[in-house]
Subunit: 178 residues, 2 copies
């Protein structure tokens, strides 16, 4: 069974994007010169699972930032909505979390990067997330899209490591307790 | 002009209490043996400003935990609602943040501990908070009362220090940028 991993940044108030999906506030002065571990993280990943909101954002990036297969979860998109330049690199699924994982398992993708607020929430609720690397940008936004949402039970985490960077960014790694 | 300081703990998802005000999840195994800096923080404080929700919680504690004057902000409570055992130690005000600060200044209280979600939010909106010590408990609650709320502008913070404790608790200190 593939394992699901989260690597994401939030504001101090736990938001991952402004209401209009703007993420410019992620670009903290001085942070670009720091190694926050993303390259090492992505090197251990086989495929990326993201929501439609995240895809709509990253599809505007040129060049396409992911060297890995990307699965977009959407009830309204189809493969026909994928730009030609991404053919074979991005696929669209409309399945619940456990079936997404089974789909990836069938393709030999064993470590999945799960990205985007609603997708992370649904995978957390399904008990599928193994660990979370949470990067915190030192700004309170006051409005936007939250990383976390409603749960019907507590999810305790084991703290693994916390680092602080000269830019003011902090990063904590947690394992989801089984 | 007195300065306003925040020292508060949240869950990973930024909550300060469950919907029913329960805060038992704050008691992390092993954390009681650690020094998270509360005593040093409170030693530099002259008075505590809290909301009615926080007061309703702490008034159930025996003994009363605060060695300092406490101001409860409430539009519905009066001094008559304060138990006799707390007479002279707790007062009730129904004033906006700047007038609360002026009230404290007139009493010679120069460093104020501002506590409780809605009170902290209103003081942040008023530009009155100088620094924030944010302690993070490694649990996702999924439902409860948030520390932060709506703002009409970003509030950038300067990161001062981050510490991680063996219990899994982490703590970051920030100065609100002027």
């Amino acid at each position: 069974m593939p394992s699901c991993h989260v690597f994401i940044a939030t504001s101090i108030d736990g938001l991952i994007a402004r209401e209009d999906d703007d993420i410019d506030w992620l670009h903290l002065p001085g942070a670009e010169a720091e190694d926050h571990g993303y390259d090492a993280f992505i090197a251990g990943i086989d495929a990326i699972v993201m929501g439609r909101g995240s895809f709509d954002k990253v599809v505007t990036f040129d060049p396409w930032p992911y060297p890995l297969p990307v699965v977009v979860l959407s009830a309204t998109m189809t493969d026909a909505d994928i730009p030609d330049r991404l053919a074979g690199r991005v696929s669209v699924l409309d399945l619940p979390p456990w079936e997404v994982v089974a789909h990836c398992a069938a393709r030999g993708w064993n470590r999945l990067y799960v990205d985007g607020g609603r997708v992370i929430q649904s995978f957390l609720r399904a008990g599928l997330i193994v660990d979370i690397v949470l990067t915190c940008i030192p700004v309170i936004l006051g409005a936007g899209k939250p990383l976390f949402g409603a749960l019907d039970r507590d999810i305790p985490l084991d703290h693994l490591e916390t680092r602080a960077f000269p830019s003011g960014l902090t990063q904590s790694s947690y394992r989801v307790r089984r």
